[in-house]
Symmetry: C2
Subunit: 177 residues, 2 copies
DNA sequence: ATTGAAAAAAGTCGCGG
DNA sequence: CCGCGACTTTTTTCAAT
C-alpha cells in the first residue's frame, strides 16, 4: 500500500546536480513544449509531428529526464472541483531568526498540505506563502492551528485572491543564442 | 507540425461545467494522490496497491478525467535548467479601469510567456503576477517591452524571490464529511 | 461492480546506415 | 544522430460472473 507514497519522479533515475548546461535544439524545445502541455502525448505523435521516428524522440526525452530538465510528470487537479477554491498569498516574518528557528520553519512548511509554495523574499526571516484552502473559515483555522504553531512568527499579512486569470506550469526556455 | 501547438488536454474529452460535485471515496483520493505525485504510475501498480484489478482503476481515472477533476497531465521542467532561475512577484494597478482596458489586459497576459500566474487581488484594477525570467536584466526588459506596452498601467511593485523553499502542484482534497 | 483474458497501442532497445 | 524492426509493457475493451 505504501508504494503510492513514494517520492516517485525517479522512475527512470534523476540528477541532483544543477549544472550540465546542455544545449537544447529546436527539436528538444518542441518536445518540451508538447510534454508541458500534455504529458500523455505519445512518441508516435511527437515523431510524426517532428518528421522523425520514435527512436530519436525516445532518446531525447530520456536525455531530458536524465539531465533533470524534465523533473517529473504530474496530474493537475482542478482546485474548485475538490473543494479548494480559495487561494491566499501570505507574508510571514519571523521574530527570532536564529538558524534553528529558520530550519524548523522550513521543515514544517514542507509538511503542511495547504501551503503549495513558499519563498524567501526580502531577507532571511521573511517568507512568502501561497496557501490553498476551502474558504475563509478554513484559512482562519489554517493560521491558528498550523501556521502559528510554528514558534517565532512575528508578523503576518494575507492577500486573498478574488479571481484567477492565468495559471500555467509551462515554461518557455530561453533562446541559447 | 502544428499538432504540437494544439490546446490538448482534451485527449479524452473534458468538462467545462464547474459543478457536478461527485463524492470522492478513499480509493479516488489515493489515485489522485498517486497521479499528482507521478502521472506515469501504471494502472497495474495502482491496482496492486489498492488491491483491485486494473479495470476499476481504469474506470475511476476515466471518470476523474471526464468530470474535470483531473484537468490535465503535464511534464514539469526545472526552471534553472532551462535558464529561468529568477521568480518575481509583481503587483500591477491599472489607472484606467473601464471594461475594455481590463479585458485587453487579461487577454494580453495570456500571451506573455514570462507570466505564469495572474490573479486579481484587491479590487478590479489590481493584479498580481508571478513572472519567471532569466535574470534582472531580462526582468527589466520584460517590464519595459511587454508589461508597459499594455495601456493604462498606473503603479507597479516588484518582489524578487531569493530562494524557493517549497513548490508543489499536488493538492489534498477536503474530507467530504 | 469486478475479474481475467485478449486486442490495440505505446514504450524500449539492439543493430545497421 | 537517425531509421528499422522486434520485443516488452501498458492501456483499453469486453464477455462472464
Amino acid at each position: 500500500m505504501n508504494r503510492l507514497q513514494n517520492d516517485a519522479a525517479l522512475h527512470r533515475g534523476k540528477q541532483t546536480g544543477k549544472n550540465t548546461m546542455t544545449k537544447l535544439d529546436k527539436t528538444d524545445l518542441m518536445i518540451l513544449q508538447a510534454l508541458q502541455n500534455d504529458a500523455k502525448t505519445s512518441m508516435k505523435t511527437l515523431a510524426d509531428a517532428l518528421h522523425l521516428s520514435k527512436t530519436p524522440v525516445y532518446e531525447r526525452i530520456r536525455r531530458l529526464e536524465k539531465e533533470g530538465i524534465i523533473k517529473r510528470y504530474v496530474a493537475l487537479v482542478d482546485p474548485e472541483k475538490i473543494g479548494l477554491p480559495l487561494v491566499v498569498f501570505c507574508n510571514v516574518s519571523l521574530a527570532i531568526h536564529d538558524e534553528e528557528h529558520i530550519r524548523q520553519f522550513r521543515e514544517t512548511i514542507g509538511t503542511i498540505d495547504e501551503i503549495t509554495e513558499c519563498y524567501t523574499i526580502g531577507g532571511i526571516h521573511d517568507f512568502f506563502l501561497k496557501v490553498v484552502v476551502k474558504d475563509l473559515q478554513a484559512y482562519d483555522r489554517f493560521v491558528l492551528e498550523k501556521l502559528t504553531k510554528i514558534r517565532g512568527i512575528a508578523k503576518m499579512q494575507s492577500s486573498f485572491v478574488l479571481n484567477e486569470i492565468k495559471h500555467t506550469t509551462a515554461l518557455k526556455p530561453v533562446e541559447n543564442g
